[in-house]
Symmetry: C2
DNA sequence: TCTATTTAGTGCGATTTCGTACTAATGCAA
DNA sequence: TTGCATTAGTACGAAATCGCACTAAATAGA
């Protein structure tokens, strides 16, 4: 078909946008006061991907401008949830390490979310999520690869990793 | 299974979060300077759902706090893309009407996006998007319905419509 | 009716996001 | 080695998001 009807694309991206807002609100309702989703995501990245990551690695992973990651990490450091130290391999750079408090905070947040996950697992056919996950991953990779067609401003070029 | 492994949920919501960021960046690259995705979404809602909608209807549709919608609409009004008038049926309320400029802006933005949609349609199996759309819709509705378990702050309770 | 509760919208301040511009360090190539 | 382009991070300001508190209008209930 030569048709270029944007309805499908608008529909998919619209649903994704609303799900993102709703799921973020759910996450944040379970986080301690003052901690929001990006903070949790950063802590989680250090555990799941690599403790001691550089700020740029994390900015790439989350597809946010590096200034945004600087701000997020400074908040975490202020709360002593991470420790930002010089990168011994590159004196321009830093390394971000979890503190014990940061690790405990992340573990507790996940524990506090389990009731929500239980509700979701009980009320929504989990197999359907299993089915769409590879499509979402491929779509994310596709968008990520084709993003570079437009010259990025401050947003870092990514390697496609995620946290 | 009694297992409550959050990996699947984290995976799905993580991909959705990144796709939201990437698609938003793509959208905004095609919008006129100073206009961002929420502005376009508001204009689009007026066309696709109901011109003359109230700000609260729109806040509900997009799942954002009403103060956020007030701000968004004030920007659109400042650029004379919408006209905000009193609601004849409710003197607390307002009605938001598209101007000719607003309609033209939205049409042009969609036209400017068609190359991106073409790239997506050519490089990604559209059938896979067709397959996941109903799952995304059901997931959005599920999250929307179960959101009310926690007492919302300023975020309006929704009727599930989207724009 | 009359009173209490709910609802729509705004004012305001705190925080987040992000673009631009800058410094410092690295890497590459002549 | 030297010089230039690239990269990591930060400073700064503009805009967006959002929670809280408030006013005014509508609605529900006694």
């Amino acid at each position: 078909m030569q048709e270029n009807d944007p309805t499908l694309f608008f529909g998919v991206f619209n649903e994704i946008g609303i799900i993102e807002q709703l799921s973020r609100a759910l996450f944040e309702a379970r986080l301690p006061k003052g901690l929001i989703a990006p903070h949790f995501a950063a802590l989680s990245h250090l555990i799941r991907v690599r403790d001691g990551a550089t700020p740029m690695e994390m900015a790439r992973a989350f597809q946010v401008p590096k200034t945004t990651m600087t701000h997020t990490l400074s908040v975490l450091a202020k709360h002593e949830l991470v420790d930002i130290r010089p990168n011994p391999n590159d004196r321009r750079s830093k390394c971000v390490w979890l503190t014990d408090a940061g690790r405990a905070m992340r573990d507790k947040a996940i524990a506090d979310m389990s009731p929500d996950f239980r509700v979701l697992a009980d009320g929504f056919d989990t197999d359907r999520l299993v089915e769409i996950l590879p499509v979402l991953t491929d779509l994310r990779v596709f968008l990520d690869n084709h993003r570079n067609a437009e010259p990025p401003r401050d947003r870092p070029v990514t390697d496609g990793k995620n946290g």
